[in-house]
Amino acid sequence: MASVSVIEAGRPVLGRRSRLRSLRGGLQGSEYAWAIAFCIPYIAVFLAFVVYPVLYGLWLGHKPALYLELVHDPIYQETVVNTILYLVIGVNVKMFFALLLSGFFMRKGWWVKGLLMIYVLPWAVPALPTFISIHWMLNTQWGLVNNALWDVFHVDGPGWLDTTRWLALGSVIVSYIWKNMPFWTVILLAGRMAIPTELYEAAEVDGATGIRRFVHVSMPLLANLYLVCTLLSTIFTLGDFNTAYFISGGGPALSTHVLATLGIRDAFEIARPELGVAAVLSALPLMIPLVITLMHKLRTSEVQL
């Protein structure tokens, strides 16, 4: 970034003077045309498929009455609570275990490498087939989970998805963790591998082992990465439609919707697109600070993520 602004400062007018500049900075006439031409496809995509939909969405959801209606809607109230639980529990439990497991996968040995190959499968397999599979696993009568519970402990498992709100929401969160934990484990593992081994050796010489080594060496170095990962994951999870839609489908009795699924339901099942957009836009107070923080962190490349 810095080098670009320096060049711009030294090049007030794009004209003859730029020709005198080094090839590295100034762009000559035809080169400038090429540079513009190379940007045009992306600018077109951005205007047609990002700017236009965003503005259209804002226009659809601009009426304050929609938000009043939402606030008084018990389904929306439950949805907000679900979304918060989903984000707070799902993201943090997932990131915490990912952090621990990334430490585990730093172990040497062929079987740890093999285990990692198996462990990343949930990330490699497409979301939809696995969620449908989990949905069937949690079937009260014929699902694998309750069958296994009966075979091993001789107890009747509960109706995971169709009896109570909390069991169903818990199932959604566990499925979410199952699907997404491997990805973040791999990211944190890459972060750990980037820590120079000399640091650990030095800590070892100074007598820091086990938990103390983690607290005084790994954690300070991973803290920023962990924070960025958690924020990124929060924003991706906020937009996660597939998990809730395919595990619980919002049931029982519309009690496990999250904002992403409720918006789609309002727009397409009860045919009120404005209300759906308003439900989605009501996440903006959470999204805007997240986006600003992340843009700052990612752009300055404090973190190589």
Binding site: W142, D151, S218
Partner: protein, 295 residues
Amino acid sequence: MTAVTAQGAPARRPNYKRRRVWGEMAALALAVVLIIWTLAPLYNMVMVSLSSHADVFSSNIWPSDASAVSYWIVLSEGYWYLEYFWHQYANSIYIGFWTVFLTLGIGSMVSYSIGRMRIRHGWLLTNAALMTYLVPASFLAIPFYRIMQSYGLGNNVWSIIAVEVTFATPYAIFIFQQYGRSIPFELDEAARIDGASPIQVYFRIYLPLMAPALVAVGTYALLLAWNEYLYQFLLLSNKRSMTVPVALAQFLNSDESPWNYMMATAVVYAIPPVIIYYLFRGKMTAGLTMGGVKG
């Protein structure tokens, strides 16, 4: 946190060996738990696909009489829900191919212009891309649906390609810019002094040197397109234009659910990305350390 340093054995203490044995035991126990946790839903998928209809609705935890007949029914389109299976599979491949091609093309061109040619105000585009990367795709689904109708792309696979490219390109730009910093500028300068035009530099120098990043982003874009459901569901309703995930979900919502056929379809759909993932795993992990992927 018993991670052993990658190089050099730590100083050995007298009780080191005993602790090591316990550590190994704990690690093995954890490994068993992880394997069960990871494989249970995948096992369920394969098990149901190998079961007969009666076995699906039973309390067995493994098929009493495993057979691959469901796969044959899927592959031969032998069930009314599956009558366009290959057509739908081809749609998924078509969408995946064009998403990869356009994402790499558009992303590398704009990154070249911003990062190598140093176009004025390039940072605006970088920021625009970064912001798009941070907006959840599902939040734009409702306006997108309306807009695609007005663009005349309703029920057209190109509307899906447009969506996937829109949401994959920001990541591509992000990665390409980070990776591009490792390519020395002297190469571009030398080529330009020798009289190469910007487009020649782009094709002869920039793209070949960016190959690892291209592979990482290409894999990412393909998996994104293969994983995506919401937009495909909203924008494709015709049986001949829809993709496998949409057909699969339609299956789920029908009254009769032939779960064994459904799971066989799911397995057939899941195999290509898994193969591609393992083929390009090293490259993708390299890409990950350069930039995040939408999980």
